[in-house]
């Protein structure tokens, strides 16, 4: 089953409904809604076009790898824009993304879950990096918030002679727990509450439901692993950057006084 161009154009009616609602309620979001829909359309068409090139049998797989590298860089820059209060986020985010991507790709391709080809590499890497980016921004913001809110407590621990990493540990643990819980909850509720994207797409595309479920499971575990790896790398990495070598807590931009 495929959707033709006319069908896609008709689905724009739904965007018009959203924009109309914004207009009716005076939310002032109608321009953003239309812009977001158009932008998504152009971006996806562009990506589809490039994928078409990458999937040609004569195209080298190196081009797909190059795309993966570009995604990693773009994601790190985006993370910086979305979490401006987090000090020196780019190198840390890149480390987290590379680790998460390398780990997931090694398992998936190394154990032959999927065959390594442009058709599998680019979308899977995109999925990992996209989720890793969201997790990075979330973990970065939470760390800065926690270390700003709990500044007094952390300094009280330092003043007791605790090394900075010991003083930070209870708060890092709290951040990790609260950043990972939503991901775990989503994983638990899958299938009961909603049918996730990859599976929905496959079923709409005419795939056998059981194979759709298997692919979805792999995707879900991939997302869970990517989010956990990046969140942990970010939280631990940041907890080191938020202290000086002589065990003082760095003054954060958000912190008062």
């Amino acid at each position: 089953m495929t959707v033709n161009w006319a069908g896609t154009a008709f689905s724009l009616i739904l965007v018009a409904v959203a924009a109309g609602l914004s207009l009716y309620w005076g939310l002032g979001l109608e321009r953003s809604i239309v812009w977001a829909a158009l932008r998504a359309g152009v971006q996806l068409l562009l990506v589809g076009g490039i994928l078409l090139l990458l999937l040609r049998p004569q195209t080298s797989l190196w081009w797909s790898w190059l795309w993966v590298v570009a995604m990693l860089g773009y994601a790190a820059v985006t993370a910086k824009q979305r979490a401006p209060g987090v000090p020196r986020i780019v190198p840390l985010a890149l480390t987290a993304f590379v680790l998460a991507t390398a780990l997931s790709l090694a398992v998936l391709f190394g154990l032959g879950v999927f065959p390594l080809s442009a058709r599998t590499l680019v979308p899977i890497a995109g999925l990992i990096v996209g989720n890793a980016m969201t997790a990075t921004v979330l973990a970065g913001r939470r760390m800065v918030e926690e270390f700003t809110d709990k500044r007094d407590e952390i300094e009280a621990r330092l003043a007791l002679g605790q090394p900075s990493q010991d003083a930070a540990r209870p708060y890092v643990r709290g951040v990790l727990r609260s950043a990972l819980s939503p991901q775990i909850e989503t994983t638990k509720a899958t299938g009961l509450v909603f049918l996730p994207g990859a599976m929905t797409g496959l079923i709409l595309g005419g795939a056998d439901p059981v194979s759709a479920v298997l692919v979805q499971l792999v995707v879900m575990f991939l997302v869970l692993a990517a989010a956990s790896t990046t969140t942990t790398v970010m939280a631990i990495g940041l907890s080191r950057r938020l202290f000086t070598p002589d065990h003082r807590l760095v003054r954060l931009a958000r912190a008062a006084s």
Binding site: D152, E155, L158, A159, L160, G161, Q162, P163, D246, R248
Partner: protein, 229 residues
């Protein structure tokens, strides 16, 4: 006074802070020269924002000066292990800072091996009954919490405690209890550096007074202080 007789000696110490309005950094402490003697209670007195807390934080190396040198018993702080320094120099903050868990959990942060007998003695020194050990720290009153924080600092047997306006959030009665507790500790040989803006309190607790004003520090007589800085 010779540097080695004082517990802390500050020489030409300057601390600058960024201007919140984006202008040039402002010197909170501007070339401070002062000595804090190794006995009794020294009060750092001044208006809010004068730099008292900034000065106190330098003594525990929670902040470092932009220029100048701070010495502890004659040794520049840069040459000391900050963790060892902080075990000799404890600090109690303006607002109580209980950690999650019971009073026992709090007291054991710096001394995980301490048994209940030892913790009970510590609580007695800060006028708290030993049976609060098992209570959740959050259930204590403000005055009790601040004395628990003092006990938490004393667990590693520091030689000096730094108090940053420790009673500013307390009512009159718990304030007096806290003051009496600290006076007893000072009488037992603990060196106390106490930040306060309350002239009446300064007259009650101070053996000597250093006024922090205009980025400088000078010695004052407690009886000469105006009622409110």
């Amino acid at each position: 006074m010779d540097d080695s007789e004082s517990v802390f000696a500050l020489r030409n110490v300057t601390v600058r802070r960024p201007d919140p309005n984006g202008g040039e950094p402002r010197a909170v402490l501007d070339g401070v020269d002062t000595d804090i003697p190794g006995q009794g209670t020294t009060v750092l007195w001044g208006t809010s924002g004068a730099g008292k807390t900034t000065l106190l934080r330098l003594l525990d190396r929670l902040d470092v000066p932009d220029a100048g040198v701070v010495r502890y018993r004659g040794t520049p702080l840069d040459d000391l292990d900050p963790l060892a320094l902080r075990r000799e120099v404890g600090m109690v903050f303006q607002r109580p800072t209980p950690f999650a868990g019971t009073v026992r959990d709090n007291l054991r942060v710096a001394a995980p091996e301490a048994d209940d007998g030892r913790l009970g003695e510590l609580l007695e020194r800060v006028s708290l009954p030993a049976d609060v050990l098992g209570r959740d720290a959050d259930t204590l009153s403000g005055g009790e919490l601040q004395r628990m924080c003092l006990a938490r600092t004393l667990v590693v047997e520091p030689r000096v405690v730094l108090l940053d306006e420790p009673t500013s959030a307390l009512d009159a009665e718990p304030t007096r209890t806290f003051e009496r507790t600290v006076a007893d500790l000072a009488a037992d040989g603990l060196t106390v550096v106490w930040v306060s803006h309350d002239a009446a309190q300064v007259r009650r607790v101070a053996d000597r007074v250093l006024e922090v004003a205009g980025g400088r520090v000078r010695a004052r007589e407690a009886d000469d202080l105006e009622d409110e800085a």
